[in-house]
């Protein structure tokens, strides 16, 4: 991946099997990412991490049909953007992705997807065979 001198994107991967794994494994991966890619600003880090944890939580909560979920996560950083792609073995994604806005103030749920929309520049979903594939992109501030 890095055989040429051009500063290509760096890639970090994680295999997550829930249970027993949970979103703490995603936090741990990102600790490694931030230690390696020190040039990503604190503002970009906190926004991307919050979005990715929301996405992973959403997948773990809503696609497990009782036999657990296997997720493959990879995070790629280039000079322009940071991208997370999450493939999971769960049920077909139930969430349509248009931003429906925040729920009522005292609602206890329903903020995950709107929050992701507020934190990243792109949020995409596709069904690929028997896997879901989710992708978030945050373009890095100068």
């Amino acid at each position: 991946m890095s055989e040429h001198s051009k500063p290509e994107a760096t890639r970090h991967t994680l295999l997550l099997q829930a249970p027993p794994d949970n979103v703490d494994a995603v936090h741990a991966l990102l600790e490694t990412v931030w230690a390696h890619d020190v040039l990503v600003s604190a503002a970009d880090r906190v926004r991307f991490e919050t979005a990715l944890i929301e996405l992973a939580s959403n997948v773990l909560q809503h696609t497990d049909t009782g036999s657990g979920v296997t997720c493959y996560l990879w995070v790629e950083i280039s000079a322009e953007q940071i991208v997370a792609t999450l493939r999971d073995s769960g049920a077909k994604g139930v969430a349509e992705l248009p931003d429906s806005g925040m729920p009522d103030e005292l609602a206890e749920g329903g903020r995950g997807l709107p929050l992701i929309h507020a934190l990243v520049d792109e949020l995409d979903y596709q069904r690929d065979g028997d896997m879901n594939e989710w992708r978030i992109v945050r373009r890095l501030s100068a």
Binding site: N22, V23, D24, H27, V46, R47, E49, T50, I53, E54, S57, L60, Q61, M102, E105, L106, A107, E108, G109, R111, G112, P114, L115, A118, L119
Partner: protein
């Protein structure tokens, strides 16, 4: 995530959490608020100074606690959120619901 409970004066509970407030740990916050309210400590301060990260599950637990406290005639207030918590509150329009106090000591200052 760990938490401690202080009862600085009658009717008040200060819950101090450390770590991440996410889908794994949010149920503990719900339970802790419920236990305090049931015991008559209906004015609840959630001290977030040790919380490094919150997601919408954690936020949902805070809202659940707020409703639990208010239904018992009390309230729930938050203290000392870090930048990430403030960002989540701002982006979810919850700053209007949760006024962030500088410290737990001042949240129910009368």
């Amino acid at each position: 995530m760990q938490f401690t409970v202080d009862t600085p004066s009658e009717g008040i509970a200060v819950l101090r959490f450390t770590g991440r407030l996410n889908m794994v740990t949010a149920p503990r916050l719900r339970e802790a608020v419920g236990t305090s309210v049931t015991a008559g400590r209906t004015r609840v301060v959630v001290d977030l100074s040790g919380v490094e990260f919150i997601d919408s599950s954690g936020l949902g637990a805070l809202i659940n606690g707020l409703k639990t406290a208010r239904q018992a005639g009390g309230d729930l207030r938050i203290a000392a959120p870090n930048e990430q918590v403030r960002l989540v509150l701002q982006l979810t329009n919850m700053e209007r619901v949760f006024t962030a106090y500088a410290s737990a000591d001042t949240a129910f200052d009368v």
